[in-house]
């Protein structure tokens, strides 16, 4: 312990005792399934005079380029309103709506002043039932999307992620999550109208509204606006994601890069699997938050990187643990060495009691913090609903987090964090990094056009 500075006395010495954990406070969800199949969930959270909206529409196995372009043109006009009119109408109630797709779903999200909720729902309904995909707007958005993909192709983080996904998923739809520019350019407006008619349907969709609302009234408002959205179309289920198949580390060349993008994937399980809580804790101890072993090692101790991160990612068809760091080119080999070391250490030896306790508190606290805002609560409620769960599942999950033992976490780490099960990619200046990386593990090289 360092002596107190004489001229500037520090705070009283004793660390204040931590209070007992407060119980997880779960907000009440009001829920109604409309005759057309749409599930509506409303939650009151009056913090500020706003309302958050999330609409989840299952979209698995949709044609990638068309699905992405559909999400970008959903708001580009109806039979009665132009794109700019829709945007201006939303903005006049302080609102905005946007859509995005991933391999699981189309998600419309947005917010606005709570006094504008009826108007926002009315505009949303207009789009869901009458999106016209006007030829000229589709042409503009198609170019915009092509441009954006081109820009993304110059970003190391994007390229590394793409290479990792291909390596992880092979021929599964999850393997490619960004379409090629040529595929985007080939999409015709008629194909978007057909995809909309087939897949943008209420049958299995879930709408979540969170904010300064009376839940009963919000459900009524949603029913008034969206009751006329017609059921039909068809639903395609995704096949289960294949297990990872470990192999040589893939080196993707990006000549003259000043940093290398290191990406590793490991197996994981879904939210309701009995191992999930222990796996989540194992990931936290390894690298899932700032106070983890890996961050302590390669950032705090060695200064190799600014923001390393590992996370358990969940998709409807499967889950994976991913590890990512941007490291200075000259320390790529050492950074990989430390990463494999930390994975192996946790897979081989149980975590210490205090490390586990800290990770547990962090997991429980972030659950609480994640739901403390309207936007956070809306996202959590929508995500869980998309996986067939409701917020009350969090009570069960937090009980599992609270009960997990060192043995449970060690067993999960041995199963899921073992470096021998990893799939790894490094994007960087191959001429400078390949030899140091090859000293640690077999490599193969892919030449990138970027």
């Amino acid at each position: 312990m360092t002596a107190l500075s004489s001229e500037r006395p520090a705070a009283p010495y004793t660390l204040p005792p931590l209070g007992p954990n407060k119980k997880l406070k779960l907000p009440k969800e009001a829920e109604r399934r409309l005759p057309n199949g749409l599930t509506v969930i409303a939650i009151r959270r009056p913090a500020v005079p706003l309302v958050e909206l999330r609409l989840w529409v299952p979209f698995g196995r949709a044609h990638l380029a068309r699905a992405v372009l559909l999400s970008q043109t959903l708001f580009s006009g109806t039979d009665t309103m132009s794109m700019v009119e829709i945007a201006a109408a939303l903005q006049s109630v302080g609102g905005g709506l946007s859509a995005g797709v991933d391999p699981d779903r189309l998600l419309v999200s947005g917010n606005g002043l709570v006094t504008g909720l009826d108007r926002i729902l009315e505009l949303l309904a207009g789009v869901l039932t009458g999106a016209a995909y006007p030829n000229d707007e589709v042409a503009t958005e198609r170019e915009r999307l092509a441009d954006r993909i081109q820009v993304a192709q110059s970003q190391p983080a994007h390229l590394a992620r793409e290479a990792l996904l291909r390596r992880m998923y092979g021929s599964h739809p999850y393997a490619t999550q960004t379409p090629e520019v040529e595929q985007v350019r080939a999409v015709r407006p008629a194909q978007l109208r057909a995809l909309h008619a087939e897949r943008v349907r209420p049958d299995e969709a879930i709408l979540v509204l969170v904010g300064d609302v009376q839940p009963g009234k919000a459900l009524d408002a949603a029913e008034r606006a969206l009751g006329g959205w017609e059921a039909g179309g068809r639903r395609l289920a995704l096949p289960a994601a294949p297990p990872l198949s470990p192999g040589p580390l893939l080196v993707v060349d990006r000549p003259d890069a000043v940093q290398s993008s290191l990406r590793i994937a490991l197996p994981a399980v879904g939210r309701t699997h009995p191992d999930h809580a222990a796996l989540q804790l194992a990931n936290l101890v390894f690298g899932g938050y700032f106070s983890s072993r890996w961050v302590e090692n390669i950032r705090e101790d060695k200064g190799y990187t600014y923001g390393p991160h590992s996370a358990v990612e969940h998709g409807v068809a499967g889950s994976a643990l991913t590890v990512a760091a941007e490291v200075a080119t000259e320390v790529t080999g050492p950074a990989l060495l430390e990463t494999v070391y930390e994975l192996g250490r946790l897979a081989s030896l149980p975590p210490k009691e205090d490390e586990l306790e800290q990770a547990r508190q962090y997991a429980l606290g972030t659950l609480q913090l994640g739901m403390s805002t309207q936007a956070g609560l809306a996202t959590v409620a929508s995500t869980y609903a998309g996986f067939g769960l409701r917020l009350d599942y969090l009570a069960e999950h937090s009980a599992r987090l609270a009960a997990a033992t060192r043995d449970d976490v060690a067993a999960a780490a041995a199963t899921y964090l073992a470096p021998s099960r990893a799939v790894a990619v490094v994007l960087g200046d191959a001429g400078r990094i390949e030899a140091p990386v090859a000293a640690l593990t077999p490599v193969e090289r892919q030449v990138s056009s970027a």
Binding site: A10, Q259, Q368
Partner: protein, 430 residues
Amino acid sequence: MPPNGYPWPIETTRLDNGLRVTVSQDRSAPVVAVNLWYDVGSRHEPHGCTGFAHLFEHLMFEGSVHVAKSEHMQLIQGAGGSLNATTNPDRTNYFETVPAEHLALALWLEADRMGGLVPALSQETLDNQREVVKNERRQRYENVPYGDAWLRLLPMLYPPGHPYHHATIGSMEDLNAADLATFKNFHETYYAPNNAVLTVVGDADPAEVFGLAEKFFGGLAPRPDIPAAPEGRQVVIAGGPARDRVAADVPAPRVYLAHRTYPFGTAEYDALTVLAVVLGSGRGSRLYQRLADGARLAQPDNIGAYGVDLAHGPAPLIVTATARPGVTAEQLEAGLVEVVDELASGGVTEAELDRARALLTTSWWRQLATFEGRADTLGRYAVQFGDPARAAERLPGWLSVTAERASGLAAELLRPIDRATLTYVPEAMA
């Protein structure tokens, strides 16, 4: 009747050592946000010391007299909390959000590093964090297309010696030269209770917070003679418009137009904020309608206009667009200039103002939707305007901007002679 922009209770006190404390209670979630604004930023850095305020922010997480290296993070995260800190030209802020029962821990940790950082500073932690910051610089500014635009715009807008002349991230050269004694001196100089504001928002009782603040911070000595940053309100400009053209590894030409405006917090800057929304926020905006939807010169993404909310000098307005394939940098610049010049000569319409008001209302409430957002806002108004309650003025300030005032301001500020123009072109096109 304009709305009150801060409808929650605010209680304040000042400790004998000058530390100002603000509490805003809200029991809607069992969480508290703790925030410390220190009135020191990169504007205080002398020549040759760029990047020091930010590198110092990193060192504040590396241990203090009673807290071992990395323990600050471990204790907060181990209490289920989240935390971070940021540095900008004006100030440095440190903040954590924790379950309400861990309030005392957060305050104790902040007090320990306010009062007891210096004895814990070592050459080893300095060297380590210097490398982390250099990697941050690479990741955010160097390894990313257009990533250094801000670094290039500042010296075009503000002359040498002006506190905003250099960017907060600093230069690699200065970072490499940073020595331990300078950092010890930096802490002694600026990290004093009378140079800071502590704000707590959420599920906490004001009397309890004031008691804890006295207990943990009350014994820290004030510093009587904290040096001011160089004066920045007056900007002496030599010559006419500034231009820079950069050939770089970028996918398409991009143009930035920048103007000096007024300091954040003035009625003029409120009008500028409204103007920026009219000009560049979303698909209803002029830039979008004219350049992305209309003339199709610009990619619909990466088009926009925004003010950077700096309070100690004329804050910048940045207008930017990226060329669509086949469009040259010159064509794009001409298009941008035309839209900006029209705003300067023709002013804004009532319909545009209505849209801007609704958008600004939403963005204001979104900022205050989180406890940490509220704490940071109150800290800002306490430090920069002497009273956290003045946060309530901003939303009505925006909403009261008339078309006449916004138009007058556009005519005054957006003159070509006062413009800085930065252009990126792909190396292949250069």
